[in-house]
Amino acid sequence: MTGQSTATASAVAAEPTTQHQDQASGRSGSSIELHGVTKQFAADSIALRGINLKISGGEFFTLLGPSGCGKTTLLRIIAGLENASDGEVEIGGASVTDVPAHKRNVNTVFQSYALFNHLDVRENIGFGLKMRGMDKAEISKRVTETAEFIKIGNLLGRRVDQLSGGQRQRVALARALVNEPDVLLLDEPLSALDAGLRSELQLELSRIQRRLGMTFIFVTHDQQEAMVMSDRVAVLNDGRIQQVGPPQQLYEHPENLFVARFMGHQNLYEVRQQDESGLDTCFGRLVGEFERGTHVLIRPETMTVVREDDVNAGPNVFAAVVRERVYRGHVAEYTLDLGNDTEIVATCNNVGEPMFDVGTRVAVKVQTSGVVTFHA
């Protein structure tokens, strides 16, 4: 764990994934560096507190956090729609801190799509090129190309108010992509769509990003969405970066309680006492060699739940009673009572064995590989 913790200890030091860059079609996206970016709206309202971040070219990077954590403000500062109170923004190695939005080669897909109602789809997509003074034939060619790429070639003649939510989303994406920006910013673009469409577009966005090799910065409050799409994720809370890393690292090795909770972990316990051979929690002793930490989390999918009689007492086996059972098809999720008002959640793959009913006395076996310690 020592090696991992140095990799994620500081956002700037984190090694970004660059595996997609070689697939880029001819060019690669620009890198972004933020140095001590701070945003203060009023004396008592600080949105961002000294953000340091390095996003490499061609990366799909996600800013994840609850509402009000400052993620959208950070995105707006990168877009140039908001000025930082302090700090520097660099795109492609050059400072753009004082460059206004319309001179930055950065485009945004807005949460509300912000399509122009007085223009049709073709004119909406071509708006940015027209503002830059490109000639009409070239605009038309590029708009058609981009629309085909985004699979909305058949919508070009439509009025905006004739489009469905998913179609609007694609038009907004095309309108940004057609400008071939160094960086594409996406501000919760999928939040208004229903679940099915949402997962379809998540995959498609990843596909598009990989094909173009463009740098994407995606803002969301949905950790599932962040995990599905991103090369790396920065978790924000209260204007500070809590942790930066690939989704797997955030989920399997959260660095603090906030990240652990935000990644969906429920089995979080205080460490009462710790030594070389294990640690004590409120429900008993976990035996194994763990990193030092004030808290411990146990991943639900690494536990085994068996009938009480089917297991011999031993290290890391705890008696429990089934309190709740949630059937999810491929897994069953049990909430188990460990005594002393302590509960633990365990998920079991549905491999055809009979499930345990509520009230059944069971034993739960914790694997040390599913145990992670960290400091609050």
Binding site: H102, A114, K130, M131, D161
Partner: protein, 271 residues
């Protein structure tokens, strides 16, 4: 009271109210077609008063003055008011409380105060300098000053109703200040600008008091003509002029409405 009875009562009251609102206008129109010279007893249908009206030089001149006044002042007020409404929107987060006062002042102030203050002001200036002699010019100035706030508020409310992200999208899509104004704000506001022109137009046609006090001997408009005519009693001829003016206002109202709802009336696609 049962809820159904309550609802029926409300509906009945609504129709009574519509009757109350439209009866006086309907009566004016009715008596304008009266075959005898009375505005109390209706004897039969005739168009003689309309025929008389269109051969009366004074009335035609007054009509021409009214139209000139309304169109000129509405054009000026639409331009100035649109800019003001846009400014109020763009800088709505600044401390512009005084601006709101300034915009509401003409709306709330009784028109008699409006009229006499401008009359005494223009009279005193023209006595001293010869400028601003009472006439169509001073009437246009006076009308613009009460039309501007209405136009500004209409434009402002349209802008407030827009998604604020649209302004940022322009910025994001490389639009410079003038490009944003030309390619986004103006086309988006066009229906509101047209309907605010018609609103200003109806406000001008509607006004009597301010026109009355800022007018000169040469600038008699229709309402002023009617005013002096009915001092001797309401005649069917006056009813005929009034009917034409009511018709004009209704037409303007329909046009204003059509422009404002043109967007809402468009068919929408199902999601």
């Amino acid at each position: 009271m049962s809820s159904r009875g309550f609802h029926r009562g409300m509906r009945a009251f609504w129709y009574v109210m519509l009757f109350f609102l439209y009866a006086p206008l309907a009566v004016v129109a009715l008596y304008s077609f009266n075959s005898i010279n009375s505005s109390a007893v209706f004897a039969g249908v005739s168009l003689r008063w309309y025929a008389q009206l269109f051969s009366d030089e004074t009335i035609l001149n007054a009509f021409y003055n009214s139209l000139t006044l309304a169109i000129t002042s509405s054009i000026i007020a639409t331009v100035i008011g649109t800019l003001l409404g846009y400014g109020m929107y763009t800088y709505r987060n600044r401390r512009l409380g005084w601006l709101i006062w300034l915009v509401y002042l003409p709306i709330v102030m009784p028109d008699i105060v409006y009229g006499i203050s401008q009359m005494s002001f223009f009279t005193s200036i023209s006595n001293a300098t010869g400028l601003f002699q009472l006439g169509l010019g001073t009437m246009v100035i006076a009308h613009v000053s009460f039309q501007v706030p209405f136009v500004a508020l209409l434009i402002y409310s349209r802008l407030v109703g827009l998604d604020a992200m649209l302004f940022e999208a322009c910025h994001d899509l490389y639009a410079k200040g003038w490009q944003r104004a030309w390619y986004f704000i103006l086309p988006t506001l066009r229906p509101a600008i047209v309907s605010s022109f018609f609103l200003a137009f109806t406000l001008s046609i509607d006004d009597f008091v301010i026109s009355f006090f800022t007018s000169g001997p040469e600038s008699v408009t229709l309402p002023i003509f009617i005013w002096s005519a009915i001092k001797k009693g309401v005649t069917p001829e006056v009813n005929a002029i009034a009917t034409l003016m009511i018709g004009a206002v209704f037409a303007a109202a329909v046009i204003a409405l059509a422009f404002q709802y043109v967007r809402a009336a468009r068919p929408r696609a199902a999601d």
